[in-house]
Amino acid sequence: MSTNDDHLDANAAGGALRELFSVDLTAAGTLCATCAHSFTFAEALLYARAPGLVGRCPACGEVVFRLVRGPGRAWLDLRGSTCLAIRMPEGR
């Protein structure tokens, strides 16, 4: 669609995303998009008796993530979280 050369095909982010998502996200920090409370994923309130996993902010109760697992596929919706803070090993 665009002929601009100011962006790349998102395949170029593949390596970086693979590196991020190989980590244990429960230790990752996040910010609630609703109330800006800062917490780790492991501290979210998890509702699992549902068609998917629903994580809610421990401060305000709004949804911070939804994870649906289907056969051969998974969907992750993070629109309730504004930023993931992930610890990375130093000095490669």
Partner: protein, 199 residues
């Protein structure tokens, strides 16, 4: 386990019982919930239908209960694969609630106390296919099953039958709801096994 029963294509010992593909029969009524159970007192309950032009139609509990109610028996099919047959309900047909609503919108977004949403074509809510139910098995509908009142659209997977129903917004553009936005099928017909995107 699925391999063993697949040859029977959903049929149970009783040959009269035919289930949608991939479903199993259950006798109890599992409770699924994506959040804390809202406790809504009927004195404070209200239900609104909002049209695409912003016109609001509003009912409080007394107004809802003053409308003609129907007793009906229906089968329930949950996308998590259980089906429960012959459940008995009392509620108001959405045809009754929509009787004075003027709209040309094609889509509806049901929204609930607690923030849940689900989208469906408006035509699936009409012509005797959907109710606001306030009684189950002859008793007031409990909060865990969506009381004081829930949507029931039993020809679609049960996630479309929003518990703790608060209102229905009519819209020209279809908008994915709580589960439809994260992998679950936009329409959700159990007989066509429309569980996930692309099914």
């Amino acid at each position: 386990m699925a391999l063993v029963s697949r040859g029977f294509s959903g049929r149970r010992r009783d040959d009269d019982v035919k289930l949608p593909p991939g479903q199993y029969l259950t006798e109890d009524f599992p409770v699924l919930s994506a959040g804390p159970t809202p406790q809504v007192r009927t004195e404070r309950w209200e239900f609104t239908i909002t049209t695409e032009t912003g016109e609001e139609h509003r009912w409080d509990w007394a107004a809802l209960r003053a409308l003609p109610a129907e007793h009906f028996t229906t089968d329930l099919h949950c996308v998590t694969k259980w089906s429960k047959l012959g459940t008995m309900w009392e509620g108001v047909s959405l045809d009754t609630l929509f009787a004075d609503v003027e709209t040309t919108a094609d889509y509806a977004l049901a929204h609930s106390y607690g923030g849940y949403t689900t989208n469906l074509p408006l035509e699936d809510l009409l012509d005797g296919q959907a109710w606001i139910a306030f009684s189950y098995g002859g008793e007031d509908l409990t909060a865990e099953h969506g009381g004081p009142a829930r949507l029931l659209v039993p020809h679609l997977y049960l996630w479309k039958s929003a518990k703790w129903l608060r209102g229905i917004r009519l819209v020209n553009e279809d908008t994915p709801g709580f589960w439809e936005g994260v992998g679950y099928h936009n329409y959700g017909d159990p007989w066509r096994e429309q569980r996930y995107w692309g099914d």
